[in-house]
Every structure is written in C-alpha cells, then in structure tokens.
Symmetry: C2
Subunit: 376 residues, 2 copies
C-alpha cells in the first residue's frame, strides 16, 4: 500500500480536473533544501517558475529566503508586486524588453543574464538603472550560454561591463539542465561534477580581478542529491518544491516527496482494450512523458481510493495518452475493478512545472485555493 500523503479534502466537491497540492509536503521540501543550502554555506535563491504563486512564495520567505529566481520579465514583475525585491531573471536578456526592465530595475535589485555581445551592448546603451549582470555559462546542456573555455569572449564581455557604470558584474551562472536527462543518480553526480570543474576554473581565472564574483548553479537533480558544491556560492533549484515523476525516475526524490496530484473524473471504461477514459487531457497535464516499463510513453502514475485506503497502482497501470481534454489510462484486468464512471482518481504528473503552468491554481489538501500568476 502506498503511503498516502495527498488525500483530497472530502468536503471539497471536485467535479473537474483539479491540481491538488499537499502543503505540508511542499513546505517540507522547501525546508529541506533551505537547510541543505545553509549547511553547505550556499545562498539559496530558489527558482519560482515551478509554482508561479505569490502565496507559495511566502512559504519560502518563512524558510528565510530573501532573493529569488524567475524565468521571464513578466514573472519578475509579478513577484516584485508581491514584495520580492531581489530577483534574478535566469533567462538571457531579451533585448526587446529592456525599456520595461528599466522600469522594474528602478524598483528592485535586479540581476540579468547575458550570453553574447549583442545583448550586452543593447543593455549598455539602453539601461537606465543599476543592474547586476551574470554571464551565462554552458556547462554541457548545450541550450544557452557560453562554453566555459571561451575566455576570449568572456574577457571582451567583462571589458564592456567594466566600462558601464550601471552594469555590475555579479559572476557566472549556469543551469546544468542535462541532469534532467539522466538515467540514474550516477549521471547526475558526474554531470554536476563536470559543471563544478568548469565553474571552478572560471572562478580561479577571474577571482583576482573580480574578488566578489559569484558562482551560481541550480538544477533540482544535483541540488537534491549532490553534497559537493565546492566553489559554488549560490543554488537556484525550482522543481523540488513539488517534485514529479521525472525526478522520481532519475532517483532524486521519493514518491512521498511529490507534493502534487491531478484529481480527475472517470468518464468511461473500455475493458475490451484495457482502457479507461478520464476527464483530464493535454490542456491539464501538458505533454511531457517518460518511457514506461513497457517501452511506451507514460504521462502519469495512478492512485485510486479503495474505501479507506489509497493505492498507488503499479506501472502496468498508467496514463497512456492525452488529447485536448481526454486522457486514456491503460489498466490491467486485475485492477480494472477500481474504475467506474463518476469516480475520482489521482494522477502523479510527469512534469510539475508544465502541469502547474496549465492549471493556474492549486487546491490544497486543507481545502484552500491558491492562485498562480495570471496569464500575461
């Protein structure tokens, strides 16, 4: 039997796909990460893109968090309104937003990322307020950033920053996002270690000239399980507040650490093809999947309520496909008995960030509704 930590409040009438949040589990995840950062003497600047909620932000504040990370100007603006005054936008600067950034930089301590001369020169010309600048380093994820050995380009960028009275060099920032593609914790450790070596080499090269430079890293897998943060000054994990099946599959959290569930009504059962139709589709879950034991894409694991008990069904029972509003579950003949039209079931989602982004609000296990950032 599955240790149930996410029962939906029976007094709440759930009739449609609903994102259920176990507040206790989320706060425990926050406190665990805050404690780890404190023990390792790291500044904890959590990424708020997973929850996108001013109210959940307060749970971080209660755990001593003072500065935050966001992934867009829009999100920075939202959390500035919510009283956060030290914000890093961890997305290489969008030149077209500089006029709006100026307005925000006048109100809060803002850090921006650059990864090329075009972005930096646009900032240099257009910025009107003191702004912190991180140089974005690519530690191997190959999405954004500058490879750590391209010191000629880094030197050129630093030269421009040095001449810009409004731009203050803060340090080097990386997101070792390829830890999310890990097949095991071993992959996480080795990718994190590789990132550490690259960032430490940069620190060694530039620390004499810039004694206050910071090294900022921040992916949930390595922040959850690695203990070696030698040379690192700051961590910025985000997903850990809820965790999800992807993190569980890598091996960086337990199932009981996952703080969210989708609650969905059963619509129809099709025993002839071992399938159950639920109300809950791509517009609720989003379409990230992991590969199941049968080699097919899995969009979620299933929990059913059998009288007083809550049961996590094994992986042969899973959310198998998604169209706009429909979800199709594959269910073994043994467990088919648990599914009846009009019942509610719980699904553990694969990717918490994208699911929350679609649902736009949480129902807590205490019965409270928590809103997220409205659509911009």
């Amino acid at each position: 039997m599955f240790k149930q930590n996410c029962v939906y409040p029976s007094e709440m009438e759930i009739t449609r796909p609903t994102l259920l949040l176990n507040k206790e589990t989320a706060i425990c995840n926050i406190e665990t990460m805050a404690l780890k950062a404190a023990n390792l003497n790291l500044n904890f600047r959590p990424h708020f893109k997973t929850h996108q909620s001013a109210e959940i932000g307060e749970w971080f504040r209660a755990a001593g968090v003072k500065g935050i990370t966001v992934s867009s100007f829009t999100m920075a603006n939202y959390f500035a309104e919510a009283g956060w005054d030290d914000i890093t936008i961890a997305f290489s600067v969008n030149i077209l937003e500089i006029p709006e950034i100026n307005e925000l930089a006048g109100r809060v301590k803002l850090n921006l990322l650059i990864e090329n001369m075009e972005g930096l020169e646009a900032l240099q010309k257009q910025i009107t307020w003191h702004t912190g600048i991180f140089i974005k380093i690519d530690t191997g994820y190959n999405r954004t950033g500058i490879e750590s050995n391209r010191t000629l380009l880094i030197d050129q960028l630093l030269e421009v920053i040095q001449k810009s009275p409004l731009l203050q060099f803060k340090g080097f920032l990386a997101h070792t996002g390829h830890t999310y593609q890990s097949n095991s914790t071993h992959d996480v450790f080795s990718r994190h270690f590789d990132a550490l070596l690259k960032m430490k080499a940069l620190k060694a090269r530039y620390v004499n000239e810039w004694p206050e430079l910071l090294i900022s890293l921040g992916d949930t897998p390595s922040c959850s399980i690695c203990e070696n943060f030698d040379g690192v000054d700051e961590i910025r994990p985000g997903n850990f507040v809820f965790y999800d099946l992807m993190q569980f599959k890598i091996g960086v959290c337990k199932l009981s650490d996952i703080a969210i569930r989708m609650v969905c009504p059963v619509i129809a059962t099709h025993p002839s093809r071992n399938e159950v139709v639920i109300y809950g589709g791509a517009i609720h879950f989003a379409k990230d999947s992991i590969i199941n034991i049968d080699g097919k894409p899995l969009f979620g694991r299933i929990i059913i309520n059998d009288g007083e008990k809550s049961l996590l069904l094994d992986e042969r029972n899973y959310l198998h496909s998604l169209s706009q509003e429909h979800g199709i579950l594959k269910i073994t003949p043994r467990d088919f008995q648990y599914f009846k039209p009009g019942n509610l079931i719980e699904i553990i989602p694969v990717h918490a960030c994208l699911t929350a982004n679609l649902m736009k609000e949480f129902l807590t296990t205490e019965g409270e509704i928590i809103k997220m950032m409205p659509f911009y």
Copy 2:
C-alpha cells in the same frame, strides 16, 4: 518566396511571444467550410475548442452558424454567456457535473453525449431539464465511444432514453480522430469512408424507430477534403478555423490557409552548433510535434522578414526543441545570417488548438487584441 499572409502590424510593439492571427484568412476558412456544408446540405455545427473566443465566435455567426460544439461544460457555459443557445458538449457526460449541467440546460438547448449505461442512468436520475442525447460511436479512433456493431448495448441505451421524458434521443455522433494520424490524404479518405459505412449502417437500423435521428461527424481532415457525406446530417470540424502544420503535413490545407503564427524574439545565436535560441517555449507552443525530413521532432516552421520580403525557410530550418520558456531552432549555415538577437521571427505552430489554449489571446494582423475564454 513565401506568399506572406500574416505580417504583424509594425505599429504594434511586440516584445514577447505573441500569437498572431490573420483575421482575413480565418474568416475565409470559416466561409469556405460553411459554404461546403451548405452545398452538401449538412448542418454546420463548428467546434469552438480551437479558438475558445466569444469574439471569433461572432465571425461564425456572421457566416450563418446557429449551433455550436464545445468540449467541456466550462466551455459550454462560456459560450452560453456569449449568446449561443444551441450547444453540443462533444465529450461523454461527466457524471459529476450533472448538477451544473442542469443549471445550463435550463437556459440553452443542450446536447450531451453518452457512451455507457452508467452515464445514462446518472442523467436519467439527476437531469431536471429537457436535454438532447447523442450516443457516441467509435468509428475506429479507439479513444471513446461504442463500436458501431454493439447494437445490443445501443438497444439497451435507447430503451432507457425512451422511458426518460427529459432525455430526447438526437442520434449518433462520432469523431473520426484517427484521420489526424494520417500520413496522406489517401488515409483520410479511407478512414472517413469507413466511418461513413459504420454510421450509415446505424442509421439504416434505427431510422424507422427514430425517423428524426441525426448522424453527426466532425474531424477537420475529412471535412476539409472529402466530398462524400452520404447519410451524414451534421459536421463539427474545429481546427480548420486556423489550420496548422499537422493539417498541412496530412495534406488537407495549404500553407497559406494557416491563419496563425507565433511571433518570437531571438535571444542568442550559436553558430558552432547551428542553433538559435528564441524566447518561446513549451508554455507558449505546447509540445505536440511532427517528424521532420531529418527524422527528428519538429515543433514549428520558420518565417523570417528579410527587408520587405517574408521568407518561409525550408524544412532544414525548424523549431527543434522546447523547454519551459526557451525554444531552440536548428538553422542551416546558409540561412544563419537572418538571425540576430533582438530580431523577431515567426513560427508556424504544429497544433493550433494547444498553442491557442496556452496563449489565451490573439493579436490580429489589424492590431486588435482578441481574448479567449479565461482560465476556469
């Protein structure tokens, strides 16, 4: 050179991912489908789940549309508020929503779908207003519905309906959704023809007892290219209002029929790996993809503005991957010159329904902002 039909209005300052809509193209798509339905003597009950917008609904009304299709109770409620009084919820009835359905059924002419005895019996017990009932038939998509040869179950359902004074049997409804998985127009024709045979057999069997029964079909691929709707009374396509790359790939629309584009800022260029980073990710596009000529997933085709001209780049240039806010383009060395940080580019999305659902508003090429249904 690409016949450009979707230039964004230069007086509008676009700084973030923006869903651009060519109103003229969308209205042309609506009028073409309305005319086709009229010529074939079919009731045209378009599906509104693609655009989810009261304002775009008015373009349909102007084309003579009186009844509509939606995919959720929430959407039915939204369009009822917008003045639509003849609505089919093309999603097998969610038993848990019947109390809310009652409230709506008292205000508008509502049709519901059933596909099992549980749903029907719940309706029979709880419904308090006259409601039309379609029996959902599975024509081979194998997502929802009853196989057309299960006449024993259909007979049992009809017997219950007959005894329920508030439930009026309307007919048989199917969504031949496997036409979306077609590799060619040939597949669309054969799947549609197969669906026709199944629905005609049902009509032949039940028409004597229920002389007014309707046959309702409605997928965009077959409604766009098939001419044989023998035995069909009503069509319910939705996606055709915008079309998208998936429809273009099947061969049911021209590129110039696609009425939407995502406009995205270029953030960084990485010539060493033939990649460009844009602001525009999974929370803007959603994650449906098609397979590109190189065997890799493609999330969108790219249009660039070269001075006065607009160029659709060939398929070796494409939106290659998506994370939360980032998109990565694969760009050939020949076309790399077109990409500079701070530029705007246009992307034709793969799946219009999911992209629009995320963006929640359109900017028309006339510079008007059109809102969609707010998040429920």
